[in-house]
Subunit: 349 residues, 2 copies
C-alpha cells in the first residue's frame, strides 16, 4: 500500500499526462514510456509524443515522481509556543534559515504545534503516519529528551538543533558552542581591564544554561580570577535576575556576563536602582542578541548565535543521514560571535 | 533509486490492508471494496472481511484516504526573514497559533522561505506542483500584493492574515483592526487628562501604517483635539523615530502614540536626551506588544494583536473556502487590546 499522501493535482489548468496522450493519439502508458523508457517506443511514436509534450508545455508531475521514489520531500518540525514576555530571540530566525536551506535542497519544512513542556511524540507520529515525512529536525533539546531515542528506534532520520545533554548521545546534531561564547565574553572584558567578572545564570540543570556557565568559569580560571556566579531562580525572568544579581554587585563586580539577554536586563534594572549606569559603571554582556538588545539604552553587548549556519547544518546533516542511514553520527559545534554595544564601552570611551 | 530511509516494516505494529486480505483469504481489492463499496461483495464475504478488520484492529490508512479525496491536508505558508534589530514581535507567535489551529483541524502548515521584498510566487507554485497543498495562508499583505490575484486565477484557496490595502478586494482575510487599537490608545490618554496627543507613524503608503494613523486621527477629531502627527522616514528604525519625534516634543506633546514599539523606543531615547522621563513626563504608547515592551523601564504600554484568534480565524476561513469554493468572501476584523504599563501611569500614580 503506498504510504505517500500525495494526491494527483486537483489544481485547475495543469496539463496532464492523459491530456498529452489524447492529443498525441497514444495511450497514457506510451507517454509514460516516452518520458521514462524511450527505448521501448518506435522512433516516430517517440518523436510525436515528445513534440506534443513540448507543444503543450507538459512537465512530468514531480509529485508523481516523488510517489515513485517513496520520498515525501518533507521534513517535520515541532514549533513551540513563545511565552509572552520572553525575548524569543532565536527560534523564528532559525526557522526561517532552516526553511530556506531546506528549500534549496528540494525539501520543505512541515510544522506541527508542539505543546509546551511536552516532547510532542504524538505530533511526530502523526506526521509520519499522515504525511510520510522523511525525517525531523528537533529543537529545544534538553536532558532526558525522549525524542531522539523514539525516532532512532523507528529508523526515522532526524537531526537536533541542540545536543543530547545527558546519557548516551543519539544521532546527529548541530549546536552552538555556548561555552565558547561566554568564554569570549570574559576574554573581551579581561582585555578591557576587568577582573571582578560575575556570572548571572539560569537555574542548575538546563544543559544550555550549564554550558554557558562553564565557558565563563573556565575563562576565569585560565586568568586566575575569582569565580563568583549566581543563578537566577527561574529562566529568563526579569525579577528573578534582579534578585540574583544583587550579591554580585554587593561584592563589587565591575562586569556581569549573563546567560541570556533577559537576565542582562534584570541586571540593568538592579544597577539603576543603585544609581549606577550599565556600561559606564558596570559592564554587562547578555546572550542571544535578541531584538531587544539593539534597542536598549545603552545597547546591550551580547553573544549572537549563528542561526543561518545552524539551519544550513541541520539540513546538511539530515540529508546525509537519509542518504546513508548507517553512517557514523556527525556532530557540529558552531562558534557564536560577540556583538559589542554600549554596555561594554571601550576603556576611556 | 529509493530515497526513503524508513522502510514500511520499521513502523511498529500497524496492520495493513494486505495483512487483512491474507488473514481473510481474499484479495486486497476485496478488502478495499468491503470498506469503500460493500455492495459489490457477497454478504458472507463482506461479513468475513469485516470481522477480520475488527479482529485485527485495522484502520484504513488515512494517508490512502487522503489520496482518494484529493486533499493533501497541507496548507502552505511563506515564512519571511526577520530583519536583525527588528522587534519581530508577531510573526512567530502567529505561526505557532496558526500551526496549532491547523493541527486541530487535521491540517499541517508547510513552510517555504519567502525572499525578502518579493511576493514569492515561485514558492507558491512549487508547493502546488510538488506538494499539492490545498491552499495558502498569506501574511505581510500590502498594497499591490500580486499573490491574491495569482492564487484566485488558479482556483487555489487562500486566506490572508491582512487585508488587500488597495484595488479590488480578493478572497477571504482575517486582520487586526489597527485603527481601533490606536483609537483606544487615544481614548485612554484622553481619559487620563491628556490633550496634546501626538502620533509617530510609519512612512506614508503602507496599509498597516496608514490604518494605525487613521485610528489616532479619528479619535482626536472626535474629541476636537489638535491633530499633530509625524511620520518617521523608515519603518521600525530607531534613529528615524528619534528624529521624527523631535518637533512633536517641541510642540509640547504630553503623550505620543507610536505605530510600533520600535518607534516608541525612539521616543524614549529622544525624551531622555531632553532630560525627560517616559511615563513620568510624557506618556508613550507603542503597537505590537513586542517582547521588548515588557522588559523596558518603564514598561511600554502598547496595543497587542490577538494573534491566537487570528490564527484560528485563518484556519476557519480557509477550511470554509475549501468546502465551498463559490461562497461569498468572508472578512474578519479582530479587535486588538491595550496593554497598560509604566509608560502611561495613572494620574497621581
Amino acid at each position: 500500500m503506498p504510504r505517500s499522501t500525495r494526491p494527483p493535482s486537483s489544481k485547475p489548468g495543469p496539463v496532464t499526462l492523459a491530456m498529452v496522450a489524447r492529443r498525441a493519439g497514444v495511450s497514457p502508458q506510451t507517454v509514460s514510456n516516452a518520458l521514462n523508457a524511450p527505448g521501448l517506443l518506435k522512433p516516430e511514436t517517440l518523436e510525436r509524443v515528445r513534440s506534443t509534450v513540448d507543444a503543450m508545455g507538459y512537465r512530468p508531475h514531480r509529485a508523481a515522481q516523488t510517489l515513485r521514489t517513496r520520498s515525501s520531500k518533507l521534513i517535520g518540525y515541532g514549533i513551540r509556543p513563545t511565552a509572552p514576555g520572553s525575548t524569543a530571540p532565536v527560534m523564528d530566525r532559525f526557522l526561517h534559515a532552516l526553511s530556506g536551506a531546506a528549500d534549496e535542497a528540494g525539501y520543505r519544512i512541515l510544522l506541527f504545534a508542539s505543546p509546551p513542556g511536552a516532547p510532542g511524540l504524538e505530533g511526530h507520529e502523526e506526521l509520519l503516519d499522515l504525511h510520510s515525512v522523511d525525517g525531523f529536525v528537533l529543537s529545544g533539546t534538553d536532558r532526558d529528551d525522549p525524542r531522539q531515542a523514539w525516532l532512532a528506534r523507528r529508523g526515522v532520520p532526524f537531526v537536533g538543533f541542540g545536543r543530547m545533554w545527558s546519557g548516551r548521545q543519539i544521532g546527529d546534531w548541530a549546536d552552538v558552542d555556548g561555552a565558547s561564547g561566554t568564554d569570549a565574553a570574559v576574554e573581551h572584558l579581561v582585555a578591557q581591564g576587568h577582573r571582578k567578572i560575575a556570572f548571572l545564570g539560569w537555574p542548575r540543570g538546563s544543559g544550555v544554561g550549564d554550558d554557558r556557565a562553564e565557558g565563563w568559569r573556565r575563562a576565569m580560571r585560565r586568568h586566575r580570577l575569582p569565580v563568583r556566579g549566581r543563578r537566577a531562580q527561574s529562566v529568563d525572568d526579569l525579577a528573578a535576575a534582579h534578585t540574583a544579581v544583587q550579591p554580585l554587585l554587593d561584592l563589587g563586580a565591575t562586569a556581569v556576563v549573563a546567560a541570556s539577554d533577559v537576565l542582562a536586563l534584570g541586571c540593568y534594572r538592579a544597577l539603576r536602582e543603585r544609581g549606577a549606569e550599565p556600561g559606564r559603571d558596570v559592564a554587562v554582556i547578555g546572550f542571544d542578541d535578541s531584538p531587544a538588545a539593539a534597542l536598549l539604552s545603552p545597547g546591550l553587548s551580547t553573544v549572537a548565535q549563528p542561526l543561518e549556519a545552524v539551519g544550513r547544518e541541520c539540513v546538511r546533516l539530515i540529508l546525509a543521514r537519509m542518504a546513508e542511514p548507517g553512517a557514523e553520527p556527525e556532530r557540529v559545534l558552531l562558534e557564536p560571535s560577540l556583538v559589542l554595544r554600549g554596555s561594554t564601552p571601550a576603556p576611556g570611551g
